[in-house]
């Protein structure tokens, strides 16, 4: 039951902080929320270790019925297997650290109670997502994290940019949720259930492998269609190419939010979904190919943008986008273990990076532009040190965490031996180079070289308080340790025992095995490219600081293209947002008011007009009436005489 406690403690904290925040004050709300998280962070990892050590058995905790309509029954329940437990452990632990960090970071904010309530509510929704035992509860968590992300991005609601970003995040996510919901309907139609006990049973899935569904006048295997629909849902939540536009804007929220939601947890929900649905995805090879393709493209695409951004949070945001692409590559080539492994290590080092960026912003009096920083290493050495650790992990330098998980993905892409696998291999290797480059560009421009900050900001620059630094140290430790300590369990020889069937791969999927036996040059290549990226960053930003400016000037179109994020926002505005608003107005003014209302209004007008004319006949003069009657009589008699 400690497992259930881990999930519901944040909800209790959120309710106390949110509903009673006014009564118990900011301090009380913060205490309640953090206390709830501490309970979760003790119980969550504990439940995980119990499971992997064999002290507890995988099980399902049934909480109650949710929906019951004909054959469609769905329950509230908590699934307790390796995949769920590892996610619960990670989410509760990282979220707890971020809660603690927020005590310091948000200490000057007037509505802290609201902030902590949202943060805890978010954690609860995420925990419900990962412990779902059916797709609908997963969807509950899925939308719940969407709501909290909306609330937290728009936390500073008096800023128009924050409000716009919040709506954008919610609506873009909804665009992807619709195919997800339809995918759910299709799963129900195919399997007659959406409970994991049925749809994740490889035998049952195999029975449905031959079923087809016609669409666009063609026939497709039903499982492929399901795979595509679910992946589109995952693309939205995990900010993959074409649906990534909300993630960089989401940086409008407070920095701890970016760390928690837009790096460590929520955006990984899509990757989790792919891993969770592995028995279905394994039988949908074309959908998996698409997953690989989109993942690889995103990895490269986001990395190119990251290289030229100047906002410290935006660089890390694009880096998140790119790393999520890596995870999808792993899922796409059938190595779900590696994708979840990278998800876990990434959660530590990316939360670390965001929180250290927050510490930098805190130190620099809310300055986020790295062009106005530089030489901060002496002023905030602790932050500088942990940020180095985070970037070493991100770039995949051994023995930091990212090295193990990222290399495994690149090797798996190579070992897939398929066209799309080779494409993914190429993209991920180039992206690895760019990742190292932009990471050190960030480090060099922020912490090293000459300072470009104005002296007011420098005078106030100070190291963050311990309540912020301690979570950073804990995450830094995670960014170092989670790699070598767990590599064997997640993707090494112990993986089958570790996952214990929570991730299913088909018997003829040997990519993970082959990935361990790739040629040596493939193994070395990522490290080599990472070092090359760092070296290039050193040349451009330390050795010869004028070089980037010259390059930007001589390749201006390319530079602008990257700086403006491939013009995706402008494109979507032009082809989607503005036409829709225009059509909306047209439907209202022309469709409803002129045409549809025109009929009854016109009829009414006609009736009124006719009666106005008819009224004129009614003069009240007896003479006229008598005269008309006379004419009538004459006419009748005349008619009678004629026809007779």
């Amino acid at each position: 039951m400690i497992y259930a406690l881990a999930i519901f403690a944040p909800l209790v904290g959120a309710c106390i902080a949110g509903l009673l925040g006014r009564v118990i004050g900011d301090r009380g709300a913060m205490t309640a929320s953090v206390a709830g998280m501490v309970v979760a962070a003790i119980c969550g990892p504990l439940a995980f270790f119990q499971l992997v050590s064999g002290a507890a058995e995988p099980t399902v905790i049934h909480l109650g019925t949710w929906i019951d309509a004909g054959r469609f029954t769905v329950s509230w329940s908590l699934r307790y297997d390796t995949l769920s437990a590892v996610m619960v452990g990670m989410v509760s632990f990282v979220a707890m650290l971020i809660h603690v960090y927020s005590i310091g970071y948000m200490s000057h904010d007037p509505s802290r109670a609201r902030f902590f309530a949202y943060l805890s509510l978010f954690t609860f929704a995420m925990l419900m997502l990962v412990t779902a035992d059916n797709l609908l509860q997963l969807f509950f968590g899925w939308e719940g994290v969407g709501l909290c992300s909306y609330l937290l991005i728009g936390f500073w609601y008096d800023r128009p940019s924050a409000c716009a970003a919040a709506i954008k995040a919610f609506v873009v996510n909804r665009v992807a949720d619709l195919p997800f919901a339809v995918g759910l309907a299709m799963i129900f139609m195919t399997f007659g259930s959406i409970e994991f006990a049925t749809i994740l049973d490889p035998k049952i899935v195999a029975q449905h492998a031959k079923e087809t569904h016609s669409l666009f006048g063609c026939t497709f295997p039903a499982l492929e269609v399901i795979g595509f629909l679910l992946f589109i849902g995952a693309m939205g939540k995990s900010a993959q190419l074409f649906l990534h536009v909300w993630l960089p804007d989401a940086m409008e929220g407070p920095t701890p939010v970016s760390a928690l939601i837009h790096a460590a947890t929520m955006v990984t929900a899509g990757v989790f979904l792919m891993a969770r649905m592995s028995p279905v995805m394994e039988l949908a090879p074309y959908a998996l190919g698409f997953v690989t393709f989109i993942g690889a493209s995103t990895a490269l695409f986001a990395a190119t943008i990251g290289c030229v951004q100047n906002d410290i949070k935006r660089i890390i945001a694009y880096s998140t986008c790119s790393q999520l692409g890596y995870m999808f590559v792993a899922a796409g080539v059938g190595v779900y273990q590696a994708s979840v492994y990278h998800l876990i290590t990434h959660a530590f080092f990316k939360a670390l990076l965001f929180l250290s960026a927050g510490s930098v912003i805190h130190a620099m009096s809310d300055e986020q532009d790295i062009r106005k920083m530089g030489g901060l290493a002496k002023l905030i050495p602790a932050t500088c040190a942990v940020m180095w650790i985070g970037n070493l992990a991100l770039a995949g330098i051994p023995p930091f965490a990212g090295y193990y998980s990222k290399d495994a993905i690149i090797e798996a892409a190579f070992a897939a031996h398929s066209a799309v696998g080779n494409y993914a291999f190429f993209c991920t290797v180039v992206a690895a180079f760019l990742t190292a480059f932009y990471s050190w560009r960030l480090l060099f421009m922020t912490f090293h070289g000459k300072s470009r900050a104005d002296h007011h900001a420098l005078e106030h620059a100070h190291e963050s308080p311990y309540v912020m630094l301690l979570p950073l140290f804990a995450l830094a430790l995670g960014a170092i340790v989670t790699g070598f300590a767990t590599v064997n369990a997640f993707i090494g020889d112990g993986q089958a025992a570790f996952w214990a069937g929570a991730i299913w791969t088909s018997p003829d999927n040997h990519v993970l095995e082959h990935a361990h036996h790739v040629p040596t040059w493939v193994k070395i290549l990522p490290i080599f490219t990472a070092v090359a990226g760092i070296a290039l960053a050193w040349v451009m930003y330390i050795a010869n600081p004028l070089l980037p400016v010259r390059l930007a000037n001589s390749f201006r179109p390319i530079y602008l293209f990257l700086l403006n994020k491939w013009y995706f926002d402008e494109l979507y505005n032009a082809i989607i947002v503005r036409p829709i608003l225009c059509i909306a107005r047209g439907f209202w003014k022309i469709g409803d008011e002129a045409m549809i209302d025109g009929v009854p209004n016109g009829l009414a007008e006609l009736t009124a007009g006719t009666s106005r004319q008819t009224v004129k006949i009614q003069t009240g003069s007896l003479a006229v009436y008598a005269f008309v009657m006379l004419i009538g009589v004459v006419a009748l008699i005349g008619l009678y005489m004629l026809v007779r």
């Binding site: 309509a69 719940g144 609601y157 709506i167 829709i580 439907f587 009854p600």
Partner: protein, 506 residues
């Protein structure tokens, strides 16, 4: 008489009229009359609510047929009778009506200051007619209640409404009446054919296919206006905009449901073949309604109009669900109707709160309310999310079940019908942003007060219901499960026999 030997349904139906008589009998100065009228109306509706909860407790959900049946011969020579009864489908609507009316009375407590006695009287009459509509088991009795609903509503809009109230009231009346006249013809035709207007008998009667087509079209004319379906929906935004807050709540909460109720009570079980034949038309109109009116809602500048258009879109989901003829679709449609009754009613109350303070519904006039009204911002957000269909709130269950049912019919129906999910999020969040978020720029908004205890009393029951329906919907859907299952079975049997018949003829 029912099994308990006590005419419970008649009591619930007619009790509000007794309250109305009490109000009429009060003498004294204007202040006394007004205060008496308010309290009498509130107590009457609360007693009715408590009595209707007896239905909730005593109703046997395993029985698919009609319960609490009362039957008194009336014009027995013509096969007419005063017959009342509820099944799993109608009982929820009775409860919806009895739950929303006290809230409406309370919502009008301060905002209605002129002709209070007449206003309360109109509401009590309205309640009688609404409950009667859902309880009637004789088609003629149903028709009388169904039509009589128009009169008090017409008066509420036309007397206590906004500046263009007369135009809107007349438009509302004429639209609905025109449709109903055709329904009257259909009822006559059915009576000629079956010799009775008893609803359970008519459900078991099979009408010839050619007749079914005409009957279906006549019913469609009446119910489509009431729902309202595209393109006969334009009376609704006008009526909502001009109606007083409580009028809008009842209009959205209960009156729109009469259209959906009509389809599920008459069109689908009595005319199965025509319903199946016209289903593609219904789907088309519904999908157009969902997408078209959602887009129109996006462009609105008036809060009430925006929510009115969103109602049309949500009712589009209902009509999709009804005509899928499978359990998920129909249950989803029923759930969507009940949840929409509560959520959109609450949203109109939300608008009413700030209308009472600032006296404008123009969205651009507001902004930054979160700063001064945190409680209000919370309530508004909760109902916004319920309207958007966030899982865990009432709005999700119905919408999702309809998508599920629609998928059994066609992939595209599910996808296009579900498009409301995206557009709904867009227009509701855009509204919320413009009203609640941002900075306060106007002086009168700086002094605006948060929710009063009376207003909290309005919202708390609705919040509880919204969350309850979202987290544990089974306690509501259990009522209609047996009835819907029987209905689906009946429909399938009818379709099979129609196929067989066609085989014999060929």
């Amino acid at each position: 008489m029912n099994a308990a030997g006590f005419p419970l349904l008649s009591l619930i139906t007619w009790l509000p009229l007794v309250g109305g008589a009490v109000i009429l009998s009060v003498r004294g100065d204007e202040e006394t009359i007004a205060s008496n009228a308010r309290w009498t109306a509130l107590w009457t509706t609360l007693i009715v609510l408590v009595l209707s909860l007896v239905l909730w407790v005593e109703f046997d959900p395993t029985d698919a047929g009609f319960q609490f049946v009362e039957s008194v011969p009336w014009l027995s020579d013509y096969g007419l009778g005063y017959k009342m009864g509820v099944d799993g489908i109608s009982v929820m609507f009775v409860l919806l009506s009895t739950a929303l009316t006290p809230i409406c009375i309370l919502a009008s407590w301060e905002s209605i200051q002129t002709k209070v006695r007449e206003y309360m009287l109109a509401f009590l009459i309205l309640e009688t007619m609404m409950i009667g509509t859902f309880c009637a088991l004789d088609f003629v009795v149903f028709y009388m209640f169904f039509e009589c609903v128009l009169i008090p509503m017409y008066l509420i809009i036309g007397i206590w409404g906004g500046p263009r109230r007369v135009y809107s009231a007349v438009k509302f009346f004429l639209y609905t009446l025109t449709g109903s006249v055709l329904m009257l013809l259909a009822i006559l035709a059915m009576w000629m054919h079956a010799g009775t207007t008893d609803i359970p008998t008519l459900m078991a009667t099979s009408f010839p296919p050619s007749m079914q087509t005409w009957l279906f079209l006549a019913f469609l004319a009446s119910f489509a206006v009431k729902v309202p379906m595209w393109p006969v929906h334009t009376w609704l935004p006008d009526a909502h905009v001009e109606a007083p807050t409580a009028g809008s709540v009842i209009l959205a909460g209960v009156l729109l449901k009469m259209g959906g109720y009509g389809f599920i009570r008459f069109s689908i079980p009595m005319l199965p073949e025509a319903s199946a034949a016209f289903a593609p038309l219904m789907f088309t109109l519904s999908v157009v309604a969902v997408i078209y009116t959602s887009l129109v809602a996006l462009a609105q500048e008036d809060m009430k109009k925006l929510i009115a258009y969103s109602s049309v879109a949500h009712m589009g989901i209902v009509t999709i669900g009804l005509f899928t003829f499978n359990e998920q679709g129909i249950q989803g449609a029923l759930f969507q109707m009940v949840s929409h009754g509560i959520v959109s009613g609450a949203l109109f109350l939300v608008v009413g709160v700030i209308y009472d303070r600032i006296h404008t519904r123009e969205i651009a006039r507001y902004g930054g309310l979160a700063e001064r009204m945190p409680g209000y911002a919370f309530v508004f957000m909760l109902f916004t999310m319920a309207s958007v269909g966030l899982p865990g709130t009432a709005g999700f269950v119905g919408e999702f079940l309809v998508i599920l049912g629609a998928f059994k019919v066609s992939f595209w129906l599910a996808l296009l019908g579900g498009a409301g999910m995206i557009l709904g999020a867009a227009y509701m969040l855009y509204l919320y942003r413009r009203v609640v978020f941002g900075r306060i720029t106007r002086d009168d908004l700086r002094a605006i007060m948060d929710l009063s205890p009376r207003e909290w009393a309005l919202f708390v029951p609705l919040i509880v219901l919204t969350m309850w329906m979202g987290i544990y919907p089974s306690s509501f859907s259990v009522f209609w499960e047996a009835s819907v299952a029987a209905m689906v079975k009946h429909h399938q049997a009818a379709m099979e026999s129609a196929v067989k018949l066609a085989g014999v003829i060929n």
